[in-house]
Amino acid sequence: MAKLKVKNKIRTLRFMNGEMTQQQLAETVGVSRQTIVAIEKEKYSPSLELAFKIAQTFKVPLEEVFFYEI
């Protein structure tokens, strides 16, 4: 499986939001915990809709959660 170039700071943002658990984030955005694990480990790039939902959960712009590594 090719390494994804879309990186994220979800782990850091969860820590900064009162050590929010993956399960809590999953429930907030309406996906399974396994999906959050896959996104966090950069094994799966979420849809735009889910990416925006994650950014809104942390109350930060999208580019502060996800960025593209050249």
């Binding site: 499986m1 309406g30 399974s32 396994q34 999906t35 896959a38 094994k43 799966y44």
Partner: protein
């Protein structure tokens, strides 16, 4: 191992188990080596038409049982969710499974072309079905672990 991975492996085992048990039963009770072509076609049609509802019913029953046991054991309702990640994995696993079955069907035509007869064609089809189910299960586990 996650719920989705367990479910994929369970699907694989049910299909394989039902086909082996039902196949043995049919072979020992209904198979006659002296069938003519029409009787043989009728035999295979009856066998395959009957195995479809049997597979569906057993799948439903086992999955209900598995869901209950899993929710008691893990105390969560994660299995109720099917999100975009699951859908992508479902599509990719189905693609792999369909490709495998198609190759099996081609192998079946090759078998007929080589003059082995209808029995071996249908055995090839059943084998292709079972192998495609295994490919489907392994694909799902692989994608859940390695990502898509």
């Amino acid at each position: 191992m996650s719920y989705q991975e367990k479910k994929a492996l369970l699907n694989m085992m049910i299909t394989f188990g039902v086909m082996i048990i039902y196949g043995s039963y049919v072979y020992n009770n209904n198979w006659n080596p002296n069938f003519n072509t029409d009787e043989e076609l009728q035999f295979w049609a009856k066998t395959l038409l009957f195995v479809i509802p049997v597979q569906i019913v057993i799948h439903i029953l086992v999955h209900i049982l598995f869901s209950i046991i899993n929710s008691i054991a893990t105390k969560n309702t994660e299995f109720e969710l099917t999100d975009e990640f699951d859908k992508i994995i479902d599509l990719k696993a189905s693609r792999n499974s369909s490709t495998t079955f198609s190759l099996g069907m081609i192998a079946g035509f090759v078998v007929i072309y080589m003059g082995y007869g209808l029995t071996y064609f249908f055995i090839s089809l059943i084998a292709a079905g079972m192998i495609s189910e295994i490919v489907d299960g392994i694909s799902r586990v692989y994608y859940y672990r390695q990502g898509v």
